[in-house]
Symmetry: D2
Subunit: 256 residues, 4 copies
């Protein structure tokens, strides 16, 4: 009796430089991941950076996603904001469209949407902001999947408007016993040891579980695993995850 082939996507944030400021190593990450969450200019990503990231993703066959954010360059999109839903919806539509146009000019296209930073976390528990995100995606292209945390308000909002929600897990982030991410700044929020991150990724995909900061196991069934591009040693982490997954017999392939 054969084991079914397991398939997972590996995603990371890219295109997060801004003008004179460099962040992350886009080229190196694009050699490792199967999906690139490319910034859209609201938390990071000047247009030239986005254009180069899209061109390189197309060349390497990496799937492009729009990493939409609050308008907050000074806070890198990590400061939660209470934005009225119609404003938020329009801001997200603007970002998806801008990146998709750049991607198309490079011979590719935006194939999914993923909220960034504080917007990701807020929408996961705020049905109003989650609905604004889902509405923006539907208004642009109802065929675009939304990459989300399982059990989140974002997932529910996607279902509400018949958007495909794809669930992801975070190999380099700590989880609470409720299956949420430990907020940045708290102990255990970010994991930097490549061996630990790789082992967690394998457990997430092959066993469907992750160990929480409280020492329990929480069930997961991720179609994608995220490694953060701005974590110290991001490329090494992503490479370790990719190799460990391959070694465990998992096929790496984009979901979109």
């Amino acid at each position: 009796m054969s084991t079914p082939t397991r398939v997972v996507d590996l995603n990371a944030d890219l295109g997060e430089s801004f003008g004179a400021w460099r962040l992350g190593d886009d080229e190196a990450l694009l050699a490792v991941v199967t999906s690139a969450n490319i910034a859209c200019g609201f938390h990071a990503g000047d247009p030239l950076t986005l254009r180069r990231a899209c061109a390189s993703a197309v060349t390497r066959g990496v799937t492009i996603g729009a990493q939409v954010s609050y308008r907050d360059l000074a806070g890198f999109g990590r400061r939660e904001m209470t934005v009225p839903p119609d404003e938020l919806e329009a801001e997200i539509l603007y970002q998806i469209a801008a990146l998709d146009g750049i991607a198309r000019a490079a011979g590719g296209r935006v194939s999914y949407v993923k909220p960034h930073g504080a917007l990701y976390n807020r929408a996961a528990r705020d049905p109003e902001q989650a609905a604004a995100i889902a509405a923006a995606v539907v208004s642009y292209d109802p065929g675009l999947p939304l990459l989300t945390l399982p059990g989140s308000a974002t997932e529910a909002a996607a279902a509400e408007v018949r958007l495909r929600a794809v669930t992801e897990a975070f190999a380099d982030r700590g989880y609470t016993d409720e299956g949420r991410l430990v907020p940045r700044g708290r102990p255990g929020a970010v994991i930097t040891d490549p061996a630990v991150v790789a082992a967690r990724a394998v457990a997430m995909v092959t066993d469907g579980v992750v160990e929480t900061v409280g020492g329990h196991l929480v069930e997961l069934a991720p179609r994608s695993v995220c490694v953060h591009g701005d974590t110290p040693g991001a490329v090494r982490l992503a490479t370790a995850v990719r190799q460990a997954l391959a070694h465990a017999g998992v096929t790496l392939a984009p979901f979109a």
Copy 2:
């Protein structure tokens, strides 16, 4: 022997509010013009304003153009900037794409591109910036016409890459003897008397001439006439121009 029917487009700037700040009366202008140069967020135009302007333009059957600009909210795009060509090209591509996505979500599309303010004036005499604009348009959609000043570097740059250049005249702006616009802030730069503006528009379209600040006549053959949306009394001006053109037997129709 019958006179050939003359046809001209009437364009104005719209979508130039930003957040709490209102500018211009988009709804009233959309009832008058045939083409709307809608801001793209770099000199004005928050995403919700753009969305509303696009939706209203679609409802009224007004053609939508992308009014691209330097990144300069504080200066409303009126401060000339020396932007490296690759940066400028990417910034313009970003803006066209963002607005087109919003227009498409509203059931319309961006049908032409017009540079705004200082970018319009700089590109008219700077082949490098003009080429960056033309390259951005080509990379997004080589079928989009570029609305330009006749005899400008922008027109030449469009021809170079086989973009259609559509020439326009400014009913409410003074002209130098060289056929350039009198820079804002100089005497005669802006004309506010509706009767004068309307008469100039008719002369431009039916006689193909405009009187300069030096008292000479300069030849023009505009396919579009621009009335500025932020001029005091903009709506009254645009209405006067529209009525005078109709009275002179000119057909108003978009060029794109």
Copy 3:
């Protein structure tokens, strides 16, 4: 037996234009108020606008306050943000200093600090953000009073670091039964009838009470009454309030 003379300050928001966008009538308001909360560039107020507002306030003998805000031009500082305390403290220090330098160049000085919009409301209930504001003021000048809502976390944070807290009431805003402002967008949040606003101001100052949206009376002892500069008909409102207070025998004088 004579009634003691009652004294109150009248404050309004000014300097809230930005570049090409005009908001409010600074000159007209400066003729009415005794204290001007001048924007500091983070939610509104380009430097030239601030300079003009400060110069005019100095000429008219109106006291200048620094109206500090979240960094949010697109949202006019009305979108609540979760800013880390050390960032928020530095952002507020930056704003106070910038405005004070402009005021001093105009022959005046910043004499108090008032948080704007969402920061005002968040700090009123969030001890962490309130403490960041108080710490910023202390680091710049521990002699500057902080204009606050009575019973707020801001008032408590000021007391904690021995800053003077001055309490204000809002003549043109609805109050909840708990003595908080009704959030903008909810019914009864903003009152626009000058006669009603003026009568509320008189009741606040002479009787020490305001009627809530629930129909109850809440006690107040404001040293300052605020009329919003961006309310429709702001100048008429402020004038009505000033006249009604004078008619009721109240002396108008700044608190700082």
Copy 4:
């Protein structure tokens, strides 16, 4: 007969990080320079970065200067802008004041002003922008010196309003035969070899000359030598310059 003691200042740009984006090694540079040109938030420098840079400069006894710029985060202040003089003056006043307030809260103060990037270059040849800078400094504190290129319009504008102009030389930048800096992006614009940079610095200070890209010698009499903080290997360069100057018997001391 003894040689007179030569004295020179060593200045570098600092505080040029922004939010999540790091640039330069402020701590290491502060251990080497005698004057720190600290960004003011318009081309770089979030308030928390500025506060840390000022605090560290005060601790180390390094003199603080305000590195004022065009409002251009996306272009790092390197894109020349045609800003109306009254706007530019107010923008510069705002920046000096903001940084001075932060410096004073840290126990120091702004002791001089230096324009950054494109503003430095534009003002060097544009009397209008130079006059706006000088007027801003005078309006804030007529005792603050302005750090400038010798023979520049900035130097002339300072003299016009009796500001002290201090001339500097650039150890790591190429010079034209006219004594101007070779524009960035052209061959020879930036010198990265520490030995070459150090030797040029010594020649500038002890011999009063620099070799141009054309192979000629141009005379200089700098009171300060600049090493750019964002040049690759900036700290190594600055250290090499400091050691070479000390070895040549030059005393390093701030000018302000």
